[in-house]
Symmetry: C2
Subunit: 231 residues, 2 copies
């Protein structure tokens, strides 16, 4: 009997936004893995810290934060380490900020392992709805179309997507913030846009886009655009 | 001191997918409200049942399931009943399936009350990521655009939206399923589409679109379209 691979969403940051199911599984599963920066603490591990009993086997998947080519070999190596535990019959839980299947790095492990081992994904609260809650403004209602757009796309594509939708969430804002500000102002969407960083964390910030910081934003920041305006 | 209005996401159906925060608040807040059908039980109330202490004041907001004009007077009346408790200093928690700000009926109460009373929204796990988890397939990754599309839109608009996106979730499938099947087959997207109903509930069903039921689908069903294909 092999072990089961679990993708476990731990939510957007506030440990109280972990689900009861995730909390139970973290108490039970003998091996946990999580993405971590080159140096320092894993955000997913910090969110889940109080649910992880002492003495668990832990696998930190260290991923360089600088953008560049896909670090395929890092995921290859992590997948093999995880596979070793699964083959020995031990379940492995991979901690995922937000939700495992919503722009999560878990997808890279899933692609490498789900064909070989039983796999269950436990959904979590995404940054998408956490940012909407923090902003105090609905994300989408009734027959509205909501488009989720990575900020990494080129200006022309962002412009086309924003023009064609009722509501939008722009993810992975980070260093793209100055460019997005210019773009949204040009499209007359600035006053309908809200900037949110670190939603549900102690350092959460919610600002009208016009008052958002100059320069780069934190990696965990998002812009919400609602053409329908406030509730 | 007035009370606080809480919009509380209780997740997609499995009571274990309630967050620790929602569970704590449900144990504390003296008045709870929830949408309910004309007759019978409220789904949100059923999900949250084990977290609600006996003897709470409860407000069932009964909304006719048949489509038609916005039942504005129903929300007007519910908002006034809730306002009475808030003015008397009692907090009121409104239970919301999934997330309050993601296509939720809480938005109608929020629009009527958030200007008059302090309001906090507690995000929850949406049906969007619950269906993706059930399907075993990532929702969106890397630089992909994800479009959330209500099935109530006309064919031409659905077609345009589906052509323009990398991944889509079609909500509120219900009686639109036969029409959607025809449309997705015509767009050569049938083999890339998965049908999910009642995700995370005991009667959950996950089927390739080609094997989805004939005729109407349950109200709580969704189609997920991933042009990137399987993981």
């Amino acid at each position: 009997m092999t072990g089961r691979l679990w993708g476990i969403g731990v939510g957007p940051g506030d440990p109280e936004l972990v689900t009861l199911k995730a909390a139970r599984l973290l108490a039970e599963i003998p091996v946990i893995a999580y993405p971590a920066p080159d140096e320092g603490d894993s955000t997913a591990r910090m969110i889940a810290a109080s649910f992880i009993p002492a003495g668990r086997t832990e696998i930190a998947i260290r991923i360089p934060m600088r953008s560049g080519p896909e670090p395929a070999e890092i995921y290859d190596r992590a997948a093999e380490e995880i596979a070793g535990h699964l083959e020995a019959g031990r379940d492995v839980g991979v901690l995922c900020e937000g939700d495992p299947f919503f722009y999560g790095s878990f997808i890279y492990l899933h692609g490498r392992l789900a064909g070989r081992f039983p796999c269950t994904v436990v959904p979590g609260v995404t940054s998408l709805t956490a940012c909407a809650a923090a902003s105090g403004r609905p994300l989408a209602r009734r027959d509205e179309v909501l488009t989720v757009i990575p900020a990494t796309l080129p200006d022309a594509e962002l412009e086309r997507r924003l023009a064609a939708t009722d509501a939008a969430a722009i993810l992975k804002v980070g260093r793209h913030l100055p460019r997005l500000k210019t773009l949204l102002a040009r499209l007359n969407l600035e006053s309908l846009s809200v900037y949110v960083s670190h939603a549900t964390r102690p350092d959460e910030r919610v600002l009208p886009l016009g008052k958002a910081p100059d320069g780069e934003a934190p990696y965990f920041s998002m812009l919400l655009v609602a053409k329908g305006g406030a509730a």
